[in-house]
Amino acid sequence: MAFREINPKMVEATVMPGQKLFSQRGAMLAYKGEVSFTPNMAGGQGGLLSMIGRRVADEDTPLMTVEGSGTVLFGHGGHHVHVINLAGDTLCVEADRLLAFEGTLQQGTMFLGSQGGVMGMVRGQISGQGLFTTTLKGHGAVAVMAHGGVFEIPITPQRPVHVDPQAYVAHHGDVRNKLSTALGWRDMVGRGSGEAFQLELSGSGAVYVQASEEKL
C-alpha cells in the first residue's frame, strides 16, 4: 500500500528503492528521506511513441518520477484526494485528475471513439473528457483529485448507474459507458431540468463521483 490518506486533501506516499512513483509535477508538498524528483519529459511510461501519442491526445499532464527512499506528501490546489487500489483491472481517468500513481501500473491512452464510434467522441466532448482518456492497468494504487468529496457507486449488470458528466471522476472494471440523453421538448423551449445529458455506465465495476458539478 503505497498511499496513505492523512487528511481528505493530502496523501502520504512511501517510496522504497527500486520502486518508482509518478506524480503530477509540482504536487509534492514535503518529503522525508532521500527522495529525488525528476521531470518526466515523456509524461509517463513507455517510449517515444507513447509520448507522441499522449501529446497528440492532449493527455500529457506534466509528470515527474519520484525515486529514492523515504516518504513524500502530495496534495494539489486544495482538491480532495481519493486513493483507488487496482487489482488487475483498468481505471479510466482524465489525466489532469491524476495526482500520483505507482510505477507498477501500466499507463495508456484510450480513444473514446473506440467505444461507440462517433457517439463516443460526442460523449467525450460533452463530459469534458476530450477525445482521449488515460487508462491505468495492473496492480497498484492511484491517487485522484476531485472537487469536493468522492464517493463510489458499485455497478452491477442488473443495476446500471447514470452519472452527471460534470460530476464524473473515474471508473474501473469492465464497464461500458454511453451517453444517454433525456432531451425532450421541454429542453428545446428552455425549460429543461438541467439534466439533459447523462453518462450511463453498465457492466461490472465501480464509478467514482464527486460531490460537486465543478471541473478541476
Binding site: V161, A167, S193
Partner: protein
C-alpha cells in the same frame, strides 16, 4: 442536527456499503405497504445526499443530480408556490428557484458545489430558507415565498425568502458544516446576517443595527447589522459569511 439520520452516524463517504442500501430499500418498501410512499433522505458523507425512491417524487435544485441508479425522470418545475399566484409572486419577488421534480425507482444522489448538507425534519412547522440554500425537499412539502424586509436586504440576498411547510424532510446546503442553535423564550439569539442559513419554528425576528458615530467615520467593527430571533425554534448558522453590506461597515 435537526435532521433524522437513519443508520446512526454519518457513513464514510468512500466505499458505500451496498448492503445498507438494500436494507433501506426493504424498509422503504415496507413503509409503502401501509403508509404513503415517502422518499428516504440520507447523507452519504457530509456533502452528498442520497435519496431512495420507490415510485414517489422529490423536488430538487435544478442540475444538482450527480448520479442515479434505477429509473428516474427529471422534469422542470418553478419554485415560489403553485399556480397562477405562485407565478405572479415569482415574477414580483425575484425569488425564483429553478426546481426539478425527480420521480422514479432507485437511488438518486444530489450534491451542490461541494457544499455541506443538513437534513431538516419538518413536522407541520415552517422552514424559512434562502432559495439558493435549499437543495431538495420531499414532494409532499409545500414551498412558498415570504417577505423579509430589511433583514433580507442585509443578508445580501434580496427582500424575499423561500418557505417550506408540511410533513417530511428537506435538505439545505451551507458553506461549511452548519450549527443548529436553539432559541427559547429565555434565550434570544442574535446572528450575523451573512452567516444565517435558515430557521424553523415559532420565531420572531427583528433587525438590529449597531451603527454608531464610529461606523460612519469608517471605524466600524464590521458587525454593523444583526438579526435577533426571539421565541421558540431552531436557527441554522454556517461557519462562513456571505458578502453583505453589514460586513463592510
Amino acid at each position: 442536527m435537526g435532521g433524522r439520520r437513519p443508520g446512526g452516524p454519518e457513513r464514510a463517504s468512500k466505499g458505500a456499503v451496498r448492503g445498507d442500501v438494500h436494507l433501506w430499500e426493504l424498509l422503504a418498501a415496507g413503509a409503502c405497504g401501509y403508509l404513503r410512499c415517502v422518499a428516504m433522505f440520507r447523507l452519504q458523507g457530509s456533502k452528498v445526499l442520497a435519496v431512495d425512491m420507490t415510485g414517489d417524487a422529490v423536488k430538487a435544485k435544478n442540475g444538482s443530480m450527480v448520479a442515479y441508479d434505477g429509473q428516474m425522470a427529471f422534469k422542470k418545475m418553478s419554485g415560489g408556490g403553485e399556480g397562477l399566484r405562485g407565478m405572479v409572486t415569482r415574477r414580483l419577488t425575484g425569488e425564483q428557484m429553478t426546481v426539478m421534480e425527480v420521480k422514479g425507482h432507485g437511488t438518486c444522489w444530489f450534491a451542490d458545489r461541494a457544499a455541506e448538507i443538513n437534513l431538516v425534519n419538518l413536522q407541520g412547522d415552517k422552514l424559512y430558507v434562502e432559495s439558493s440554500n435549499l437543495l431538495a425537499t420531499d414532494a409532499g412539502l409545500r414551498t412558498g415565498t415570504s417577505f423579509t424586509g430589511l433583514r433580507g436586504a442585509s443578508q445580501g440576498n434580496g427582500l424575499f425568502t423561500t418557505t417550506v411547510e408540511g410533513h417530511g424532510q428537506a435538505a439545505i446546503v451551507s458553506d461549511g458544516p452548519a450549527v443548529v442553535l436553539r432559541v427559547s423564550p429565555q434565550y434570544p439569539l442574535t446572528v450575523d446576517p451573512g452567516a444565517y442559513v435558515a430557521h424553523q419554528g415559532n420565531l420572531r425576528q427583528s433587525f438590529q443595527s449597531g451603527v454608531t458615530f464610529r461606523t460612519l467615520m469608517g471605524e466600524g467593527g464590521g458587525e454593523a447589522f444583526q438579526i435577533r430571533f426571539e421565541g421558540d425554534g431552531l436557527v441554522y448558522v454556517q461557519p462562513s459569511e456571505r458578502n453583505t453590506i453589514a460586513g463592510e461597515v
